[in-house]
């Protein structure tokens, strides 16, 4: 994923920063405990499509 893009991406819910998972398949918001998938290189940063993680 483009580093500059990653720097400006934010959680759509809390607007906090996102962390790319090591396999680069998801972006995670640690504050909301929400995981946003990346489909074919496109981050799906939609709250209703996010999944929670422990």
């Amino acid at each position: 994923m483009d580093e500059e893009l990653l720097e400006i991406l934010a959680c759509p819910k809390c607007k906090g920063g996102l962390r790319l998972t090591p396999e680069e398949s998801e972006l995670r918001c640690e504050a909301c405990r929400l995981s946003y998938r990346i489909d074919d290189g496109i981050p799906i940063l939609l709250i209703d499509e996010a999944t929670t993680y422990e």
């Binding site: 893009l5 720097e7 400006i8 959680c11 996102l18 946003y36 939609l46």
Partner: protein
């Protein structure tokens, strides 16, 4: 009538995404050239195009800026936008699925933000405009184009009524004064407001949203039986009992984030 849910809007566009990449109405460039001249883009700029649809505005402006981020509620639409960007050999575009009313970007991240022919789909326009401004840096410029309706309530109701039959994701095309108020309330200092007529070839326009033939015929009959003021105002062209085209107005707004 309740506004469509985000999922309903997404499903509506997912099924017909390609038509928006190839749409004459969306690729036509007259109003976009007004935005280009007013937005004063330069090669250092980071541009966000919200609700990019088929990606026409994002691809058109990509040579003018360092980088473009194109966002849309519908991932299938972003795939079409990516295809368009590849066809145009744009190498500085990124794509993000995002809701205009809760954008997934840091505050003040962008030098320029655009949104063209999309806000009439937003259930909460003031929320979307607040988000557009939040992600624009102070002093940055925002350019918006959308269908607008005249002050006459009957003409307003006619076109918004027709649009809702054609497109379940249509929420409302606003009056210029409504726009000015929403933009000013959100903190945009307006630099430019104008309107431009746009002619819609009927056959492509009516079939774009994927409605069945009987609904398309119903929409045609709404134009054929429209009250005379509406037929005149919207420049409905009829030949041999068939609607050939109609025209509506686009509002063009450019402002500076204060």
């Amino acid at each position: 009538m309740k506004p469509p849910t985000k999922r309903e809007t997404r499903d509506q566009f997912a099924g017909v995404a390609k038509r928006y990449r190839t749409s004459i109405d969306h690729s036509d460039a007259d109003d976009r050239e007004i935005l280009r001249s007013r937005l004063a883009m330069d090669p250092s700029h980071l541009l966000l195009d919200v609700a990019t649809g088929g990606g026409h505005t994002a691809a058109e402006f990509s040579p003018d800026v360092r980088k473009v981020v194109a966002s849309d509620l519908t991932p299938e639409m972003l795939c079409e936008a990516r295809t368009l960007s590849a066809e145009r050999k744009c190498r500085n575009m990124s794509f993000v699925a995002a809701d205009a009313e809760s954008l997934p970007f840091a505050s003040e991240a962008f030098d320029r933000v655009t949104c063209r022919i999309a806000p009439h789909h937003f259930p909460d326009l003031p929320a979307a405009v607040r988000e557009l401004l939040r992600v624009t840096r102070s002093g940055g410029l925002v350019g918006i184009i959308d269908s607008v309706v005249p002050d006459d309530p009957a003409l307003d109701a006619f076109l918004n009524g027709v649009e809702k039959v054609r497109d379940p994701s249509h929420v409302r095309s606003y009056r210029i004064e409504e726009w000015n108020e929403v933009l000013a309330s959100a903190g945009l200092f307006l630099l430019h407001v104008s309107r431009a007529w746009k002619e819609h070839p009927f056959a492509e326009w009516v079939s774009r949203t994927g409605k069945p033939q009987e609904v398309q015929r119903e929409i045609e009959s709404l134009f054929l039986t429209a009250f005379p003021r509406a037929r005149d105002y919207y420049r409905v062209r009829i030949e041999n009992g068939k609607v050939v085209s109609y025209s509506d107005e686009k509002g063009i707004f450019v402002g500076r984030k204060t």
